[in-house]
């Protein structure tokens, strides 16, 4: 399958759903709505919601039932980018090729836009639960996402990252940070999708294993991109990680070994999907695409 064509088509579907969930507010407080939509509709690749839908379909579930959760994880991801870019955190000026949220709207509104995206994401999922007569699976999916996004997951990873800035390169610490900061939500997307798709325990286990390897591969590839590629590819200020003395895989392992590692993680991720056969083909394509983008500096 053509990964790029698949991802583009899926991103368009998600874009469409997100525009329904987060419509512009013409009235008070208009600035908040503008700030939320500025970051939410800024050309993100929508990898997380695409993974969630693909995991649901890999176990025979329906895409439509998973869509509210797919939109919610993209909103949660977007909130985390807005907050991470703040001067008090990574202090970044460029995101997806545009000025970061706080540069356009001010720090106060940027913080609130993040808060609103996070909270509204939970509202969307809760509304979906409340109108289902049997919401057990949806509740379990919501729980996965909330846990992965909170203090034991993404926020914990970002806090550890802040604390570790300028520390000596150290592989266990890098892995600790990335497993939480990026990996946890990626795994939650895949698990939530699988749960919503009524995965059997075996399939859920295999998809979780895929998610764990993929999550780490994703981050290694992203670190490599930050180290190697220019702003045209990443949309971010190039070399920021090095400038901030962030603990990254290339910083700890060196570039060639980091690429080797990304490819090894990809192989493990793909192996975990073997029992799922053809319906898991989109997940395989996404994983190959992401790692190739980092390691070969090309988009597919």
């Amino acid at each position: 399958m053509n990964a790029e064509r698949y991802l583009t088509a899926r991103a368009r579907l998600i874009e469409h759903a997100l525009r329904r969930y987060v419509p512009p507010q013409r009235k008070h407080p208009r600035k908040l709505s503008e700030a939320m939509r500025y970051s939410l509709f800024s050309g993100g690749k929508r990898i997380r919601p695409i993974l969630l839908l693909a995991a649901a379909e890999a176990v025979g579930g329906e895409r439509a039932a998973a869509m509210p959760f797919a939109c919610a994880v993209e909103m949660i991801h977007t909130y985390s980018l807005i907050h991470d870019d703040l001067p008090a955190m990574d202090d970044d000026v460029l995101r997806r090729g545009r000025p970061t949220n706080h540069l356009v709207f001010g720090d106060g509104i940027a913080i609130l836009a993040g808060d609103a995206l996070l909270t509204d994401a939970f509202h969307i999922m809760a509304a979906e639960l409340a109108h289902r007569t049997r919401g057990g699976r949806a509740a379990a999916a919501l729980k996965e996402i909330a846990e992965a996004a909170g203090s034991a997951g993404m926020v914990g990873g970002q806090a550890a990252d802040l604390e570790a800035e300028g520390a000596e390169p150290n592989l266990p610490v890098v892995e600790y940070i990335h497993v939480r900061k990026t990996g946890a939500l990626l795994v939650a997307c895949i698990r939530a999708g699988a749960i919503l798709g009524s995965a059997r325990p075996n399939a859920l286990r295999q998809l979780t294993r895929f998610g764990e390897f993929f999550g780490l591969a994703f981050q290694v590839a992203d670190d490599i991109l930050d180290a190697e590629a220019g702003v045209a590819v990443t949309g971010k200020t190039p070399g920021r990680d090095r400038a901030r003395r962030k603990l990254t895989f290339p910083a700890v392992l060196g570039l060639p070994a980091a690429k080797e590692r990304a490819r090894g993680l990809l192989a493990n991720a793909l192996a975990a999907l073997d029992p799922l056969k053809a319906p898991a083909e989109p997940l395989r394509a996404i994983a190959r695409y992401v790692v190739a983008r980092g390691c070969d500096g090309r988009p597919a």
Copy 2:
């Protein structure tokens, strides 16, 4: 009934439950956990969770089943205080008589502590839902809380407040801001409690009406306290609202008329509870206590 004794006993119960839900983390990222607990355990009055439990009991519901939601709303309230106090927002240095979170932990960790409290609150509620066999009411309660906390509620109110700073005193705008910034979550506490307690439609309507009047009375009383009382009573920098040219009820109406208004709102709130008879007595006591604290400068 003795309101103060009731509130103290209830606050202790909630404190105990919160300590189980948000235990200290001795490991990485320890600073995040310390920051979360610094603000969560700083002597808050726990009015919101107390209201939630009291509303559940007013319709014959069980306290224990409502407790996870009560803890969650206190965590959401605490996150909102941490973010509101940030330099990019109200820039306050004192909260509950202690230095604000960002002064102790830095802006970055303070933002993350707020993010984590908010997200973990949803995790607690989702976990409660996921382990119930019939979670319909719990899902509806979660939806109320998420909606009230998000862009259409609390975050929207804070954004409108930021935008309105320094504007001409204007009663509709003050009410717009307060209905969202404080009122929405208070009403959601009462409605969520009632829903968890299996309120019939009539009782839910009466409690909602109570919540709307009480929410506004609460804010008027709080504004009066900020204008009149010293730091010993409020635990906040005195006169901050005036200094920031915040739109408040005393600023718009003058102090005597603001007090009059608080008492009128209290009377309406109490009238809404009439049909609920004796089980609603704690709600009445809370409402009287809150308004007396603002209007008479005494705690009961």
